[in-house]
Symmetry: C2
Subunit: 134 residues, 2 copies
DNA sequence: ATACACCTTCCCATCATGGGAAGGTCAAGC
DNA sequence: GCTTGACCTTCCCATGATGGGAAGGTGTAT
């Protein structure tokens, strides 16, 4: 299976497959006589694994850990659970941060006329002199 | 005021001040005889504006627009409101996406023993053969 | 044989940010 | 005056995940 077919059936682009190989996330693919990379079912399986993990927002290092655990038939599920929990709390803090930003903006937008007049609480707030590290 | 002092009183690092100048977000700073950049109250004000806008998650291009509007005394508040609203909906979709990821993970974590046993629904899910583009 | 689709490697760009080198400048203390 | 240390300058490189694209080799179908 050429890299293009592997890409199509895993969801990971050919570009990214090469990249994952280059950074050591994947072991180097087999090569045919013509130097084309050759992928088998197991590889496709790993690529799909990676693709799904990326969709869940895991970083590449996290996916590296998950892949290692996945390849290790005897791993303790504790490890996997811990990685997932760390990732969940990462996601939670980022969500909280973005929600705080959105809420602040919503308040400002609510008090802005949004017409031809130049006065605008949004800019006023951004311009406010509240000291250096407010 | 040297760049270090400007950084300290605006919250933007010296490194980033130079960067913002290089990409055209800020107009080139005045230079002293010794070629040091020199900042006045107005510049500090703009830097604080930028710093607050970054904290609200505005991108650099968005901040460029906001700065232009801010410098224009007669701008219609409509424009500012529109930019803020676009940004809010950006934030909202990113939040929704991250919450969906976190919820999926929470379900998986809930069914994972997290002990010495190797079976783990989290890995099982990532490994699942659901076809290429499920 | 020719065309076209695919593969290879290599370099560059993104975006916001930081690290660090090499070299110039300034202020304080001796 | 001279040294020291803290500042400034520009320039290059790195991050992380991804894409673009060039230059050149290969495979297949007409």
């Amino acid at each position: 299976m050429n890299i293009g077919a592997a890409a199509a059936s895993s969801g990971v682009t050919a570009k990214m497959i090469r990249h994952y190989e280059a950074i050591g996330l994947l072991r180097p693919a087999e090569r045919r006589a013509n130097s084309y990379r050759d992928y088998g079912e197991r590889d496709i399986h790993e690529l799909r694994f990676i693709w799904r993990a990326r969709r869940l927002g895991f970083s590449i290092p996290e996916i590296g850990e998950l892949l290692a655990l996945w390849r290790d038939r005897g791993r303790p599920s504790r490890e996997v659970k811990r990685i997932a929990e760390v990732h969940i709390s990462d996601l939670q803090s980022r969500v909280a941060e973005m929600q705080a930003m959105a809420n602040t903006l919503r308040e400002l937008v609510a008090t802005c006329h949004g017409d031809d007049r130049p006065d605008c609480p949004i800019l006023d707030d951004l311009a406010l002199d509240r000291g250096a590290l407010s």
